[in-house]
Amino acid sequence: MAYKDPDDMVFGHAKFPVLEHWNVQFGAGYVVPEVKVAPEAGTERSKETLVKEMASIAEQAASRAVDIGLPAFMLEQEHVFQQTYHPDWGYACTLAQAEVLKKYYDEYGVRAALRQTVGDLRIEEKGGLRGSEYDNRIAETIEECCKAGASDIAAETMGGKSVLDYGVMRGDIRAILFGIGYLGSIDMEYFWTRAVNICSKYDTRPAGDTNCSGANTCMYVAGGLLGKDMSHTAAALARAISAARSLVAVECGATGPLKDCGYENTIIKAITGVPICQEGKNAVCAHADVMGNLTCQVVDCWSNESVFHREEMGGPTPAVWLQATGYESALMNTAIQTGNAKTLRDLYTFTDMYRDPQGTLLAYPNAFRVGKAIVEYGKDIYLRARAAALEASKVMMEAYEAKLLQLTRFELDTLRKYTSILESLPMEAEIFVDQCMREYPRKIPTFDPKSYGL
């Protein structure tokens, strides 16, 4: 564990800060606001139109940063298919944004970071995850983005998705554990070893990877309090498991700041001390979650998540949303500067700690506990993922029994049932994998064991 005591964790501070060009630090004593806007529909039709779209997003964001006095910001661009599929598009789009940020940095001294999040185009059932055309193009595009001036590279890889999806639909916690915890971890190692390698040749950080395809899928399928597709306790278990999986990128050399939608990042920060991005109450136009404040608790870079690129009454969305995350970051930075960071942190946390079981799990003292459970099993990707889920279950049951966390019958039933299934799983990875391999390849047509060296 990078931290001895969860109380040592606070927003804007990481054990291992990261420095990127144009003078931006993450985790070095201040929170950086992030903005992210998806290209307008239709701009993907040609390289030229997409490049212009990228420049326009950058320009709109940077000019607002200056207009409201933000000391620093990060611009993230999540690649659409074409940006990653054509490495030369990836290069040109990144370059266009880098030029804008550099101009503002030179003119005003505003610190600016540029994140390129490549798209994970790989499809298990179409060529597999390794060595396919899609796979090779991703590697090429990462390199082109580095060349063009990206400050860091992130991704949201999809290893284990086929099995996870099956698990979600059937409420099969073993499939969820196998999909995210085991298969996901294997693919992460493949993907990030390579990505770290490429980035190391440039002034570009290999930032990290979120389990969007797993834990976030569960969170969005679970939905709000009235959602009827997945139990919120089950989504919380998936989240705990995902921490063991997303940790792999850091083990492979990713430095952070970890990607914004990794709600598991608090756990990974507790273990490794790398800075993290997060999203929450200023990402309402993109996602609905039930913990808008809690995710601020130990954040180093505060994001809005992708929104439509269009005009609002208050200006174009890159401006408007940077203003939203910029003001929240300013509040956190004020708390840091005045010595009130821990109080504000605890208020953020407590606001959502019992709104929903997912918040209970991720509240930083509890997240810390899950982190500890993970490291106890070292590099055993199966056992540590299982331990994470079991500790998460304990956390939620304790809160429920203390009458702090209220649960519906459905939430409580699934929690109990899944816990006992998890407890009954074998203590050796080999046996577990054996069991899974007997069942899932048969039941899930899109699952390609070769993609994981199985």
Binding site: D7, A41, V80, M169, G171, K228, R355, L404, F410
Partner: protein
């Protein structure tokens, strides 16, 4: 970390309310639910068949089917027994008493039992109709599409699943081949949903008309879908079978745009101005 102290003095009701817990009535057995009662057969062997589906118990469903087949026809087993169970499950889902995995398990039980009945029947029972489903080219987000396919199957449709990242051409080929009563497209990105108008146009140009082209997914919004012919904006996956049924009953995409909330039988915020 003052949490335990704070927890003692804070009135949580001023911070948040877990309405899901607040509105939860007493636990009642599925078969006691008034909406289930309406569809549940009263007589045996149908009741047991339906109940096995309601509980998502594959083994029991197969068992009950086997013994029922001694008494009644395979078609009756399916239509008066198993299918009624599935109707009950849909009702429970719609009101929030059942959740997605429950439906999946019930669908599994239904499928297994039906296989037994069809074997006796000597052929597959006729499906209500065929629907073709795909995720747009360049788009990997397929959970919504998977749900659509699942709900269609659970409701007796033949659902042809083309997968994700599907080139326009393949979609058009499939429509030619299967002549579906409905085509469904899912896209979650601004830059992939542009496949829908392309596909719609290509179909028109080739003179192929589909009664309804249901389009949905994250970034897709109603005004976008209504900007090209055939498109009907789909909000929830479980609306898909209702749309397909309406299409079977002769409704056109123009009708469905206007009558969406009526057709799916519930309040739909996205169509609030057409209630």
């Amino acid at each position: 970390m003052a949490f335990s102290e704070w927890a003692k003095k804070a009135d949580f009701d001023m911070m948040f309310k877990r309405y899901n817990v607040i509105i939860e009535g007493p636990a009642i057995k599925p078969e006691d639910d008034p909406d289930v009662k309406k569809v549940l057969p009263k007589d045996e062997p149908f009741k047991s068949l339906a109940m096995a589906v309601i509980f998502g118990d594959t083994e029991k469903a197969v068992q009950a089917t086997k013994s029922a087949l001694d008494m009644v026809s395979p078609l009756d087993v399916i239509e008066k027994g198993l299918a009624k169970g599935m109707d009950a499950v849909s009702a429970l889902y719609a009101k929030g008493a059942y959740f997605l995995p429950d439906i999946m398990l019930s669908a599994d039980a239904m499928t297994a039992a039906m296989a037994v009945a069809e074997q006796k029947l000597g052929r597959a029972r006729e499906k209500k109709g065929t629907v073709v489903s795909f995720v747009a080219e360049g788009d990997p987000h397929d959970i919504g599409k998977n749900l659509v396919v699942m709900f269609l199957k659970a409701n007796g449709f033949e659902a042809v699943d083309l997968g994700r990242d599907v080139p326009d051409k393949e979609v058009i080929e499939a429509v030619k081949k299967y002549k579906p009563v409905m085509l469904t497209g899912t896209a979650l990105m601004t830059t992939t949903m542009t496949a829908f108008p392309r596909v719609a146009k290509a179909l028109q140009e080739q003179g192929i008309s589909v009664p309804v082209f249901g389009c949905g997914g994250g970034a897709v919004k109603r005004d976008f879908v209504e900007s090209y012919d055939m498109g009907v904006y789909g909000v929830k996956a479980f609306h898909a079978p209702k749309l397909a049924e309406a299409a079977l009953a002769g409704k056109s995409w123009k009708d469905l745009r206007k009558e969406y909330p009526k057709v799916v039988g519930e309040f739909v915020a996205e169509y609030a101005d057409r209630m």
